[in-house]
Symmetry: C2
Subunit: 330 residues, 2 copies
């Protein structure tokens, strides 16, 4: 029996771009579009454009009436109340009534969550975590995000804000974090953390030659460090060894919490491959409890980079559709 | 309508004693008994005595045919397969087929889990966590145990071994732990951790007077440290300040994981009251993410000390009964 509503709409709201796409049950992005998040100083103007552009896309793909749910990944988006709350990376301040606003415009059930949780749901629905009931998603981007799935369910916590593993303390009294505290995991194992480590290591070993010394500090990126490490630069290689080790140590503690079947690693830094994964796996096995060693999988995300954000968000659209059908709201 | 099976049997298997009790739906222990865990070198002899004594108790209280389920809390007991696996604190080695053995003898559905998870389920069923969907139980005994409840469900993890928060690293490279690793939370915030801290502090401040110096190191207990702290001994007081701080710092990280409504603190050390809770709360608020500060509750267990172990185990008996009814096994 073909589903009467075979598609969902996934929307990923980033600080710079908003991408959206029509997705089918197998995780194929049928069509997608994008608008600039920062273009509209007023939130409702932004929502107007998003609605117009998404509606155009739906019409152009003969998907009118075929979208069963809308899923949105956005910074600080709260699954429980559907709101974006004080997102540091967005230009609109305070509380934004995102889910209700979209539902009013489209007349389709909407669910929202933060980007890392959306990625976890995407991985569970279409990616490396299919069939897993217990896993932890770790996203290594500008910051470090996470999504915890246990008993086959996304863990949102009492307030919708669970899964902030990037803000567990990796080094007590360590690097100052954007959250105002010190030593958070994301100050070490994010793209910006890699740059901080590189600058520290360069300064600590002034006599060791490194191609990174040719790049002004303010311009240095994690990509530069990766390129240098791949080319055999010893400082750059030690940066990835350190980053992988800090991450592996943290994962060992995380495993003691929910005993996951796997960690799924996603995001720009994950592309460093063995440079990161080798020291991470070694540190995990060295630091994990005996029954986790060599047993908990550490996997690379299987969502295609270009589609991942939309896919993650869209996966939540199926949840929204099911929830609406269950309570008879549709 | 009165329930046809209004009782459950709770069994708590400790290293020294095994206690068991008949419990009603309100958490009243109708009657209880105990046997010595260590008395029988052979596991089946122990099970024979346990079965005989529990059956006597059931008959003496006219509860034959009225027990709907049996719940067991035991070291290293695995909810998924019903087995005790290599429990360091028990005299029987290897795998013990605990749940199946009990079910064969009693003809009543059985569920088992470790003691800390049993305590969490007890707290959720009869205690301080009634009505909570997201909380974390922390048991401070000889070691530090924990049980994580999220979305209203006990989190067992992929292998049944979730919730080992006592083995998260509180001080990287710190004290050697019984698990073979270094710096585990339980080496600092257990009863034995308190003694280790006291001995360290006494040695580090040889000129500071303390009544604890009158007790031979090998005989010192956490109770001695508590008594001394209550009497105003400065070293003993600083031991509890340190213990509370290490625990509060750890809870701040744990909150970032599942964003619980509350932590419930249970076990011998919890009786230290404000000596422990004050520095713990201060450290939590100082180290937690901004949206957790002053918001996540830190509560003392509401299970009566004498009944707690049996109550915790018994609560799992209701689960066993429900599960059996759902799948029509009874």
């Amino acid at each position: 029996m073909p589903m009467s509503k075979p598609y969902v709409l996934g929307i990923d709201i980033g600080g710079t771009n908003t991408v959206f796409g029509i997705v089918d049950a197998r995780g194929t992005v049928i069509a997608s579009g994008a608008i600039k998040t920062k273009k509209h100083p007023v939130f409702s103007d932004y929502m107007d454009e998003l609605y117009q552009e998404a509606t155009k896309l739906i019409k152009a793909n003969n998907a009118e009436g075929k979208i069963g749910g809308i899923g949105v990944g956005a910074p600080n988006a709260n699954y429980y109340n559907g709101k974006i709350e004080n997102a540091a990376n967005l230009i609109w301040k305070g509380e934004l009534n995102l889910a209700q606003d979209l539902q009013d415009r489209f007349g389709i059930p909407v669910a929202v969550t933060n980007d890392a949780n959306a990625a976890a749901i995407g991985e569970m629905t279409y990616g490396a975590a299919r069939g897993m009931r217990d896993f932890i998603m770790i996203t290594l981007g500008t910051g470090v995000g996470s999504g915890v799935v246990a008993n086959g369910q996304m863990i949102y916590g009492a307030d919708g804000l669970a899964g902030e593993l990037g803000h567990c303390i990796a080094r007590r009294g360590g690097r100052l974090c954007g959250c105002g505290r010190s030593g958070c995991l994301e100050t070490y194992t994010s793209a910006t953390g890699v740059v901080r480590t590189a600058l520290e290591f360069l300064e600590a070993s002034p006599t060791v030659p490194s191609v990174l010394r040719n790049i002004p500090s303010a311009d240095l990126t994690s990509k530069d460090v990766y390129d240098a490490a791949t080319a055999g630069d010893p400082i750059a290689q030690s940066v990835f060894e350190f980053t992988g080790r800090v991450l592996g140590e943290a994962l060992a503690d995380f495993a003691a919490f929910t005993s996951p079947e796997a960690f799924i690693i996603f995001g720009g830094l994950a592309k460093a491959g063995d440079l990161l994964f080798k020291p991470m796996r070694e540190a995990f096995d060295k630091n994990a409890l005996s029954f986790h060693r060599g047993k908990v999988k550490i996997l690379l995300s299987e969502l295609k980079e270009a589609d991942a954000a939309v896919l993650g968000a869209s996966a939540l659209g199926w949840d929204a559709m099911r929830a609406a059908n269950t309570i008879g709201a549709e």
